[in-house]
Symmetry: C2
Subunit: 294 residues, 2 copies
Amino acid sequence: MLDYKQLEALATVVEEGGFDKAAGRLHITQSAVSQRIRALEDTVGQALLIRSTPVRPTPAGQRLLTHFRKVYHLESDLLADLLPSSDSVPMIALGINEDSLATWFLPALHPFLQANNVLLDLYTDDQEQTHDLLRAGKVAGCVSTRPDPIQGCSCFRLGRMEYQCLATPEFARRWFPHGVTAEGIRQAPAVTFNRKDMLHCRFAQAWNVMPGEFPTHYVPSTEKFVELISASLAYGMVPHPQGLPLTTRGELLPLAPQSHISITLYWHQWSLGTTLIRDLAGALKQGCRDMLLQ
Amino acid sequence: MLDYKQLEALATVVEEGGFDKAAGRLHITQSAVSQRIRALEDTVGQALLIRSTPVRPTPAGQRLLTHFRKVYHLESDLLADLLPSSDSVPMIALGINEDSLATWFLPALHPFLQANNVLLDLYTDDQEQTHDLLRAGKVAGCVSTRPDPIQGCSCFRLGRMEYQCLATPEFARRWFPHGVTAEGIRQAPAVTFNRKDMLHCRFAQAWNVMPGEFPTHYVPSTEKFVELISASLAYGMVPHPQGLPLTTRGELLPLAPQSHISITLYWHQWSLGTTLIRDLAGALKQGCRDMLLQ
């Protein structure tokens, strides 16, 4: 049987990014952390960490981490059942795309959070990358565009998130006086979340404008993204729940109402999930009904 | 003299994270991208890229990138002067801490953005890490807590951002009925941005509660962070400009008004900066006056 104190040291070093911080969190010395990890490396006969800044796991280290995190979550669940008065509050690590976090995700979870004494540990990434966090064992569940379950996991459909290309009336008059055209797209400043965000590329491709052929700001904050649009400084793809109050008040308008883009979102979790994760998944399924298109 | 087409290929591969996407952006084949980078590696006699996913530069590659980006920005500036009617819009890459992006940063830049045809390329990181983006040549300027200039750069003071520990009256009654105590901090669910965010640790330390001894959610979205607090699900350190409307309306209250935390922010930029960067810095200095404490 593996030594779980050693595995815990490995996981803490990777989570905290270094030996010194891991030592602080585990309340042991840095040399004790190193000893545990060396002992574990001896046991499995392979290097487990790349001593870079921040420290990263080797492929073997990653496999041990995935295993440890699953055991850790199962154990948290067991202890929550066995020791309901235990002081330590369970923590659930989840992977979530930025636009879901900015819109429906937390409101959908409010009832669950009010009913359960649990802490959320959220990691954000692009909706096409979050399942990598799940595969790496870094999170116990994730929101992703991937429709099929990855190995050892189950998944279900949450609903659709619809994006419309929005601008202020003033911006539309200045840059798209005759409606959306390829020439307009090549000139007008767009706004994109970051380089992983492909929505504006998909929008532009409908007019045969290729990625790199349109000017765009990169603003990695969903809320500020919309503020830049509201200030007539850019136009861009806004999720329906965020755009609705602005289009209703006439502050923003859809530039090409026929060409919205729909993204279907799925919930993925380990099949060996804990009761808490199953309850959370149930709450999400319920809670997203009013907020995502079905 | 180095071949700048080769340097451009290197920079594009690193920015896009892979050879295939870089090929797409440069409108050349993937094999042409590889050839250019191999030729550059021959010239300098060292490996420049680590062929991981995503592709990362070696230390030598990083030094070449820093050089290339400086030349690129200088050249953009030159061309903007020489060819004012040029079609390509200059892009300014900036490093910025999340709380500044969520509050004062873009409003301070609105007049500059309205007056200049320029695109922002924003990268977010913790205020103690943004200068690494500048040192790496990834950005031409950054907002940081570092008070002294790094080599080849200049800096000036922007102002202070003040954080208060806020909660709803209901949350305060439940978890801190007799005011803030060490015992309360050990029990009450806090909210922290991510593991780099040390503000709540500093708050707790004033009551001799060490990092790891208080329960906390991790929610990497400044806006949702505050929403969790408003929903009575957590308490946490909120920047003054974000908290003010909520405390004025009585929805949130400062838990320990005497123990706010102040962070002084500085602007850093390359000394060899372009006219555009200098104008942007001037606009920031002017624009942050009303939004940061002086």
